[in-house]
């Protein structure tokens, strides 16, 4: 039915099967859109947020998808700027994932604000001292770069490619892609960093506050580094999921191992910085503000040292160790364990730096603020996941996302 659109010689499931899969994800999207509509029409009283807990589940999702979408800018940087050519075989997937993640992040921001029609005020009345202003500018600009990076892949669709203008446009865009990859990396450094700065500058919140360099708290640099380090883990996780569903090998092992190895070393260096940051905060920063380290991890029903362990050890040291050791990363099961743990690790970090910040009391006579999301928040947070499944499915079916697919699956 849609065979004319499918890349030449590529094998895809029948259209009805594909349509059923898309319909299932579509139902989840509709559920999310309904919840989103409720938030827009009835207001944020549809959530379980309150004046103590002003950031909700979807803000965590926002930061998490931006972090795990970091594979796009970092893989682009490695391929186009550092010249690691073999990564051309996975860069398309990284770009599609990046596009999904960043478009989701922008959608989440549009749901999150109390007056969505005034969203443009962040550009019009910009406060140059605010990290959130920097986030808005860099995020929007980087999303534009991602669109530019995505367009050539779309134009390579079998039907579109037959149109000479599109064929040449795609070809020429590929030619100048290094410029956009470099621009994307530059912008990403700032929007990832400023997202880290959002928490780090909160000097009224000792759990989040960090000293830093000039106007940038250490979290600024840690967020950029962690997105570059862990982003590829998510790219590889999605690759493995797509390979599992399609029952095909889509990218050669040497490409996967190269990206995994780089990710491993990046996570290792990040962890060194993160551990130093945590120790300094625990021993110097927090006590100088009157807080014991344990005051942030006790006397409440949810946050204990387990979350620090989960972030640093389970989601950091273990994946880093697996990915930097050749024998381990070339073991398929250990590799999957590492990339999944890595993805979870950075997501936990974002939870800690956004949602946990709201929880501990600051005034001595105040109480812990714990929060659980409403169904509307869950639905709007699941919405980007279902949307991502649909977009990646469409891209896989109709676009030449994996250049090595034909070679690896020749009969």
């Amino acid at each position: 039915m849609d065979s004319a659109l499918i890349p030449k010689e590529a094998k895809r499931c029948s259209f009805p099967v594909f349509a059923v899969g898309i319909a299932v994800a579509g139902v989840i999207v509709l559920w999310g859109v309904y919840a989103m509509g409720l938030c827009w029409l009835k207001g944020l009283n549809q959530t379980n947020m309150n004046d103590y807990y002003g950031f909700a589940l979807w803000i965590w999702a926002d930061l998490a998808v931006i972090a795990i979408g970091g594979g796009a800018f970092f893989t682009g940087l490695l391929k186009y700027v550092f010249g690691i050519d073999e990564l051309k075989n996975i860069i398309n997937l990284a770009v599609v994932i990046g596009f999904v993640c960043y478009s989701s992040a922008l959608l989440i921001l549009a749901i999150d604000i109390g007056q969505p029609l005034r969203g443009w005020f962040i550009f019009w009345h910009a406060n140059v001292h605010s990290m959130l202003t920097e986030v808005a500018f860099c995020l929007s600009l980087y999303f534009s770069v991602l669109i530019i990076e995505f367009i050539p892949l779309i134009l390579e669709n079998r039907k579109l490619d037959k149109i000479p203008f599109f064929h040449h446009l795609s070809h020429n865009m590929h030619g100048v892609m290094a410029v956009f990859a470099a621009t994307g990396a530059f912008l990403s450094c700032f929007h990832q960093g400023s997202l880290g700065g959002v928490a780090g500058v909160l000097y009224g919140r000792p759990f989040a506050f960090r000293e830093g360099l000039l106007v940038w708290p250490w979290t600024f640099f840690l967020f950029t580094w962690s997105a570059a380090a862990y982003g590829p883990c998510f790219t590889l996780t999605v690759l493995k999921i797509v390979e599992k569903i399609t029952k095909k090998k889509l990218v050669k092992d040497n490409v996967v191992y190269t990206l995994a190895k780089i990710s491993g070393w990046m996570i290792t260096t990040y962890l060194i910085a993160k551990i130093i940051d945590t120790v300094y905060w625990a021993l110097v920063t927090a006590p100088s503000l009157g807080f014991n380290f344990m005051s942030f991890y006790s006397n409440n029903k949810f946050y204990g040292l387990w979350i620090l362990f989960a972030e640093i050890v389970l989601g950091g040291i273990i994946p880093a160790a697996i990915l930097i050791k050749k024998d381990w990363r070339e073991n398929s099961k250990l590799l999957i364990l590492a990339i999944v743990l890595g993805t979870l690790g950075v997501c936990i970090n974002r939870w800690v730096m956004v949602l946990q910040v709201m929880a501990p009391p600051v005034m001595t006579f105040d109480t812990w603020a714990l929060y659980y999301p409403s169904w509307q928040e869950v639905a709007t947070t699941v919405l980007p996941v279902a949307y991502g499944v649909i977009l990646i499915s469409l891209a896989y079916r109709y676009l030449p996302v994996f250049p090595q697919e034909k070679e690896l699956n020749a009969e």
Partner: protein, 277 residues
């Protein structure tokens, strides 16, 4: 006409609350809500999404009967001067749309409701929980809208609001002074609703830069340390964070003064050192 009105010395309006006088009656909260058209819900059970610009906290010394002592702490917006007292309050410095601003001529942190787009970053930044989000549309019982103050604009759903130190009263006082060709306003011309409503006279309001004003005499703010009180019985909430609040508290009781800030276990002596250095 006054031609020199722009050259008036900068004010630094602030509040001193005597916690030994406060009975926790809540008059300040009621007066504030009435004065500032603060919206309320039909069911106010959940205090964490109720809007109370002035909020009275209750704390105890943690001792059992008969040594139990109670203290009530009224908490308006602290109108922080920020680190170094340069106006970079925790909330002002983070607002992405400049919807909250620091007025260097009064020291008051404003909130521009029509510019706020409801990101709530300022709420996350405020350690005092002095900022409130309008989760619902403001709805008053039928007929009650006629009692709203015409001097204060009601806020719409989806924006943040907070105590303004009854700034509209300052504007009215300035208008009067201007009309009467006076350069400046007097102490009693500009008083907040909570200060006037307090039956125990626990709340005093005035200009911390004016040595004639009661607030100055009560706490003796040190301009070289962001306004830290020289008066040993006075303290500010969370002084160690460097927020430089303009709301001071006074108490004879040491446990109350100590409750104003956090101290690492074993280093409680920092409390005395901090207040006297």
């Amino acid at each position: 006409m006054i031609k020199k009105h722009n050259k008036a010395k900068a004010h630094k309006f602030g509040m001193v609350i005597d916690l030994d006088k406060c009975t926790g009656c809540g008059s300040c909260m009621v007066a504030c809500m009435s004065e500032n058209n603060v919206p309320f819900k039909e069911n106010e059970t959940n205090k964490k999404d109720s809007i109370t610009w002035m909020h009275v906290y209750r704390l105890t010394n943690g001792k059992s009967f008969p040594d139990t002592e109670i203290c009530y702490i009224p908490r308006p917006c602290m109108h922080c001067g920020g680190k170094g007292d340069h106006g970079h309050s925790p909330c002002v410095s983070v607002c992405p749309a400049t919807a909250t601003d620091y007025d260097y001529t009064t020291g008051i942190v404003s909130q521009i409701y029509t510019r706020c787009f409801g990101c709530r970053y300022c709420m996350a930044a405020c350690p005092y929980h002095a900022r409130y989000f309008n989760w619902w549309d403001p709805i008053w019982p039928s007929g009650m809208e006629k009692t709203l103050s015409p001097d204060v604009s009601p806020r719409m759903r989806g924006v943040v609001e907070k105590c303004s130190f009854c700034f509209h009263r300052y504007q009215a006082a300035k208008d009067t002074a201007y009309f009467e060709e006076r350069e400046d306003i007097t102490e009693d011309e500009y008083q907040t609703a909570c200060a006037q409503a307090c039956p125990a006279n626990a709340i005093v309001f005035g200009d911390l830069n004016n040595s004639e004003h009661e607030v100055y005499k009560l706490v003796k703010p040190d301009p070289y340390h962001g306004g830290r009180p020289k008066e040993p019985k006075a303290f500010r909430l969370l002084e160690r964070l460097g927020t430089n609040p303009k709301v001071y508290y006074i108490s004879e009781r040491e446990w109350v003064r100590k409750a104003g800030d956090n101290y690492v276990k074993g280093k409680e002596k920092d409390h005395k050192k901090h207040n006297t250095e």
